[in-house]
Amino acid sequence: MSDYVLPAGLPAPVPARDGLDRPYWEGTRRHELWVQRCPGCGTWQWGPEWNCHGCRSFAIGWEQVAPEGVLYSWQRPWHPVHGALADAVPYTVVLVELPHAGGIRMVGNLLGDPMQPFAIGDRVEAVFEDHDDSPTPFTLVQWRVVR
C-alpha cells in the first residue's frame, strides 16, 4: 500500500462498460502498454476512440508499445481536491509523450520525491503500479525519470 504514489481512496479506474478501453486496462494488468493504431493508415491514437480520426476507419486496432517516453509537461498540485489527497500533497503529475507511438501523450505521476529536479525533455520509463487490494483490482501507469 505504501508503495503507491498517491494513497488508496481515489476513484478506481474500471474498464468502460462499452468495452472501448478494455485492451488498455487489461494490458496494464500484464504490465504491458497497449494503445490504438489504425492498421489502414498507421495513425496512432490515444485515448481510445471508436474510429480512426485520421482516416475514419472503424477497424481501429491496438498495438503494444515500449513503456517509455519523454516528459512533455508537468504540474505539482498542492491543494488537495479529494479527501484521499489531504496528506499526500504536493505530488507531481507528468504528461509523457511517446515519440515512438506518433507522439501520443499519457498522464501519470512521477515516482520519487515530489521536489526532485527534472525537466521537460527528460527521458522517462513506465512503472506499473498494481492495486491488487482494491475491490476492483487495477494497475496504474506511473513514470520514473531515467537518470
Binding site: P13, H53, L85
Partner: protein, 396 residues
C-alpha cells in the same frame, strides 16, 4: 467589405444588461432560479422593455434554469427560440450572445436573452474532485493520478507555454494584479475593498504549480443576462445602442480528445475563432480599445491575448505588464471590472457585460473614448467563443 462583414456587423445590438448582486460561493440568499429571474428583470429594466417582450432564450454550460420555466415566470406569451450551447466551463459565454444574434438575424425571434446563473451552495462546486469509488472512460485516464479539478486539468498547458515560448510567469502575475486593481473601483466586485499586492501574490499558496491561488478564478453565486434585438429596434430604445460587430465560436481540431492529446496542446482554443471574428467585425486588434479575457486561469489569459492578436509570443513578456493592463492609462486595458478573478465568476457573462459597458462609457474603470470592445470566453475548453462590440461611430 467581404461577405462575412455583412453577416452580423451592426445588424444586432445589445439593448439591456443585468446582473444580480454577486455573492461569495454558497452565500446567495436566493435560489439559482430566482437569481436568473432577477438578472433578466434587471436587463429588461436597463433596456426599458416589458419582460414579456422576450421571446428567445440562450444559455450555455448546461444551465439548470430552462427557458420554459423562465418564460412562464416572466409572463411571456410565447417562446420563439430556445437554445443551449454545447460545452463545459464558460466557453459559451460569448457564444450564447452569438446564438441570440443568430436567432434575431434569422427571423426566429425578436428579443433574445443570453443568461447564466450559478448558486453553488444549492448545487455544488466546480473545484472539487470526483466522489465516486470507481471511474471509467476518459476520466479514468486522469482522475486516478490526482488530476480532477479544472485547475489541474489545464495547468500543464501553461507549463508548456513557458517552455515553448519563453513566456515569463510574471505575465500571469500581471493579469491577476490588474484584475484586483480594477475590482477596487467596482462596488459590484466580490473583491472590492480587498486589494492584492505583488508581495501577497508571491506569498500566496500554490493551487497547483504553476498556478498560485490568485491565478485561479473565484467560484460565486449570482446571475447575469444580456438582451439583444435588431439594430432597428435597438435604435427605438436608445440613442446610443451597443452594436454587435462580430461573435464567433469554435475549437481546433480534436480539441475534445481524452488524456491531454489535443494535437495543438498549448492553445486557448481560440486560434480558429479569431481570424473569422475580426473579418466579420471589420476591425483589427489595433482597433480594439479594451479587452475582457476570461480568466479561468491566468495562463489561459496569456494564451488568449496572444492568439487574439494583442501581442505575440515574442512580445508577451514586454506587453503583458501591470502598467499596460490597467485602465485608463495602460496600452492594453484588461478585465476592467475585475473579471472572473476579482469581480465575480459568472462563467464569463460578467465579462461580456463589462465589454458592453465600456462601449456605453459606464465602466467603473472606463477607458476614455472606447468604441471597440473585445471579449473572449472559456479559454482551453473544447469549444470557446469571442465577440466584439462597437458604438455607432465605428459603423460610420
Amino acid at each position: 467589405m467581404g461577405e462575412l462583414e455583412h453577416s452580423l456587423r451592426g445588424r444586432v445590438a445589445v439593448v439591456g444588461v443585468g446582473e444580480t448582486t454577486y455573492y461569495k460561493r454558497g452565500q446567495s440568499p436566493d435560489p439559482e432560479f430566482v437569481l436568473v429571474l432577477k438578472a433578466i428583470l434587471a436587463a429588461c429594466a436597463d433596456a426599458g422593455i416589458d419582460p414579456s417582450t422576450i421571446d428567445g432564450f440562450c444559455s450555455y454550460s448546461n444551465d439548470r434554469n430552462t427557458p420554459a420555466r423562465l418564460s412562464a415566470a416572466l409572463g411571456c406569451e410565447v417562446i420563439r427560440y430556445s437554445n443551449m450551447q454545447w460545452g463545459g466551463g464558460g466557453g459559451g459565454a460569448a457564444a450564447a450572445v452569438q446564438n441570440a444574434c443568430a436567432a434575431v438575424l434569422s427571423g426566429s425571434a425578436d428579443c433574445v436573452v443570453a443568461y447564466r446563473g450559478l448558486a453553488q451552495g444549492q448545487f455544488g462546486r466546480f473545484g472539487q474532485g470526483a466522489r465516486s469509488s470507481t471511474i471509467s472512460g476518459a476520466a479514468a485516464l486522469t482522475v486516478p493520478y490526482g488530476v480532477m479539478s479544472p485547475a489541474q486539468t489545464y495547468a500543464m498547458r501553461t507549463t508548456r507555454l513557458f517552455h515553448d515560448h519563453g513566456i515569463s510567469p510574471d505575465t500571469l502575475k500581471a493579469v491577476s494584479l490588474a484584475a484586483y486593481h480594477h475590482a477596487q473601483n467596482n462596488p459590484r466586485a466580490v473583491m472590492y475593498g480587498r486589494p492584492l499586492t505583488p508581495e501577497a501574490y508571491d506569498a500566496s499558496r500554490w493551487i497547483t504549480e504553476p498556478f498560485h491561488l490568485y491565478d485561479v478564478c473565484l467560484e460565486n453565486d449570482g446571475a447575469a443576462a444580456v438582451i439583444v434585438m435588431s439594430a432597428e429596434r435597438a435604435r427605438d430604445l436608445s440613442d446610443r445602442p451597443v452594436y454587435v460587430l462580430g461573435a464567433q465560436q469554435g475549437g481546433p481540431r480534436r480539441s475534445g480528445v481524452a488524456g491531454h492529446n489535443q494535437p495543438d496542446y498549448v492553445t486557448s482554443s481560440l486560434k480558429p475563432v479569431v481570424p473569422r471574428l475580426y473579418e466579420q467585425a471589420g476591425v483589427t486588434p489595433a482597433d480594439v480599445d479594451v479587452v475582457q479575457s476570461y480568466e479561468n486561469f491566468t495562463g489561459a489569459v496569456v494564451m488568449s491575448l496572444i492568439e487574439g492578436g494583442f501581442c505575440t509570443y515574442e512580445s508577451a513578456n514586454e506587453v503583458l505588464t501591470f502598467d499596460n493592463l490597467i485602465a485608463p492609462s495602460g496600452k492594453l486595458p484588461l478585465n476592467t471590472s475585475g473579471g472572473n478573478l476579482a469581480e465575480c465568476y459568472m462563467h464569463g457573462l460578467g465579462l461580456v457585460i463589462e465589454a458592453v459597458r465600456q462601449v456605453r462609457g459606464t465602466s467603473t474603470n472606463q477607458v476614455p473614448g472606447a468604441t471597440v470592445s473585445y471579449v473572449n470566453a472559456g479559454p482551453m475548453v473544447e469549444v470557446v467563443s469571442a465577440a466584439i462590440f462597437g458604438s455607432a461611430e465605428v459603423l460610420g
